[in-house]
Amino acid sequence: MNASARVATVASRPERVGLGVMFALSFGAIALGAGWVTGPSAAVVAAAMLASVIGLVLVAFVGGLETRRALAPYGLLKPGILWLSLFFLAPLWSMVVMSLSSKESRFDFFPSFTWEWDNYRVALTDFRPQFLRSFGYAAIATLLTILIGFPLAYVIAFRGGKYRNILLGLVVIPFFTSYLIRTLAWGNILADEGPVVSIIDNLGLTGAFESLSVMDNGKLLNTPAAVIGGLTYNFLPFMVLPIYVSLEKIDPRLVDAAMDLYSSASAAFRKIVVPLALPGIFAGSLLVFIPAAGDFVNAQFLGNPQTTMVGNSIQDQFLRQLNYPVASAMSFVLMFIITIAVLVYTKFMGTEDLA
């Protein structure tokens, strides 16, 4: 096949060209980001990536309207693909490598790749309590955000009237303050001398709260309850907003229709409003559970050494123990479990409205 025939074939399959260039770019970015190529060869790879982009532009330029139309989606995808390859896929690869590395001698500064599966054993056995705590706390916090967030979203959506947007604004307003500051403020609120503890004391409810194991020794701060409370508070808007969106779409006449068809108000709520709000509850649960499971701020500022979550342990292994391999292995286990949990949840709870 001569050169001109080859060009003609390529031009007749523009989507293949687009797909090819996209993969080439992604692969190049990973290679550069993960450090597979360094020095002069890195410059060659970068030049090749640039050339492939120019080639694509040329094909689009030479080809007609049809070709350009076929290539457009790949062109639009490129910035995102490049970004994710360079800053997500490449680091992910480095982490895979790191999680299977070890220091061959204790004087090595940097671990090297040795198929060290033991890192995963350490992650799963030594840090089992932290993993269990993380998922337990995150699950309870998710449940609490549903219980608190659903009525809130319901009132805003159906009874908010002209104040809807103001009320929604109030839900979001805490975001204007830094996450860290808000959590530290909770520390003050729950402190032994703080308002919450003194109110409970004055009401004489300390004993009751202790028997519910919400309080410990007359303290609220540095208990599991404080950590879960902090998580619930910090992630509540992520539950309220998606539930609000799905409630807001419900035509109030559907409730009228249900009541017309012999359902009482509570039955109509159960059979119409809740099912139609499920996509929102589902989305909110993912938005709360995933970051809550990996959170380390609340446990650090509101908890005690017995309430550390896996996020704290990963941070500790990475930044204080400088044990990068085990920290990487723990990160992977966390990611893996969350992915499985989300898939299972989607399988049982997922609706076709929300893929």
Partner: protein
């Protein structure tokens, strides 16, 4: 007693606004009853009071002879077809229809049987497992009907059910609705602002305006013998010509048109509340299709007019003409007729049969044809 629904001096007030005033009528078993009127006339409020979504400020709503004025909707044996259907989007067609029977905790076998029967009635059997969003407007409409009818209600309430459909489909659904109503023999109470719809389908029509029931009667009754100027103007198109009684007795009367011309009417073409004493102000209603046109002055009573506009409408031709006193009238002549003198600015003579005019009390706010005045029509709707 044959009445399914009875409204006993029902009044509904929101603050100082009276939405429905002294509604007092009965709807019989198996009747197709329409409530017709411009928007804001109180027809939907009346329907909601029958359904139970609103409660009367005073008066009683009786269903099968039982006072249900304060009974919530889910305890009333009436069902509503909502304006935008309000189908449950997360359920299949079959589950939508089964909703009522299941709420009533009927045996599941019975539910299945009823749903199957009802799907046959509305001809949607093959769509049982679809979601409402996968259906066309007309199909959704029929699901809404089936969902209400499956409960065998004492009465079916329909709130502007055809308003969301386009013209052709609306006409087809009118016929379909009549067929279904004959098949299930359930009382239909139908709210509409479309007089054509009401005239086509209903056994009886209640014409409402500003919260008041102006007239209740059959379509022919309301069209031929309107009891108020509002009804005369709202139903169909009419020429409302102000006149003064010249002399009258029990056999009939002769009236002088305002601006010239005389007309003789029989006493059975005069509304009951009109006093035929000389000098009394009355209105003569002449329907456009009851006027004849000719180029020369005919032998009997007639009015001279100048043609202003001629609109060909296929089966008929609408002629707009102006009387000597500048009152506009419309005349409907057959599209087949060959009338060469019908040209703008030409003069013609209008005549009528003795049975054509109908006389009402008082003078109209706008004299002449009710369908040529855009402002007055907009004020109605």
């Amino acid at each position: 007693m044959g009445d399914v629904i009875r409204l006993d001096q029902v009044r509904k007030q929101y603050g100082s606004f009276v939405a429905v005033d002294n509604a007092d009528f009965c709807i019989g078993r198996g009747e197709f009853f329409a409530m017709l009127g411009p928007s804001g006339c109180g027809k939907t409020t009346t329907l909601k009071m029958i359904a139970g979504f609103e409660q009367p400020s005073s008066g009683r709503v009786l269903l099968e002879g039982v006072d249900v004025s304060t009974v919530p909707p889910y305890k009333r044996n009436v069902n509503t077809v909502f304006q935008q259907y309000a189908l449950f989007p997360h359920m299949t067609v079959a589950d939508n229809i089964a909703f009522g029977p299941r709420s009533k905790k009927l045996d599941e076998g019975e539910v299945k049987k009823r749903v199957g029967d009802m799907l046959d009635v509305v001809r949607l059997s093959e769509f049982a497992n679809r979601r409402p969003a996968q259906l066309s407007g007309g199909q959704q409409q029929r699901v809404a009907l089936a969902r209400a009818l499956v409960n065998y209600p004492s009465a079916l309430l329909l709130d502007e059910p055809l308003a969301a459909l386009d013209l052709k489909l609306r006409e087809a659904m009118q016929i379909e609705l009549k067929r279904i109503q004959r098949e299930v023999e359930i009382t239909f109470v139908f709210v509409t602002h479309d007089q054509g719809e009401a005239l086509t389908m209903s056994d009886r029509i209640a014409v409402m305006s500003q919260g008041v029931v102006e007239q209740i009667g059959t379509a022919t009754d309301i069209y031929k013998r309107p009891q108020s100027l509002f009804v005369a103007g709202f139903i169909g198109s009419a020429n409302l010509l102000p006149a003064v009684v010249a002399q009258g007795d029990s056999a009939g009367a002769s009236l002088d048109f305002w601006g010239g011309g005389r007309i003789t009417v029989k006493s059975n073409h005069v509304n009951a509340d009109v006093a035929l004493t000389p000098g009394e102000q009355v209105t003569v209603m002449l329907r456009p299709e009851h006027l004849h046109v000719s180029a020369t002055q005919p032998a009997g009573e007639s009015l001279a007019a100048t043609v202003t506009d001629i609109v060909f409408q296929g089966a008929s031709v609408r002629v707009v003409a102006r009387l000597a006193n500048d009152t506009e009238v419309t005349v409907l002549v057959s599209g087949e007729a060959d009338l060469p003198f019908l040209r703008p600015d030409s003069t013609l003579w209008l005549s009528w049969n003795a049975d054509a005019p109908f006389v009402l009390d008082g003078w109209p706010s706008v004299a002449g044809a009710t369908t040529t005045n855009v402002d007055s029509i907009e004020a109605l709707l």
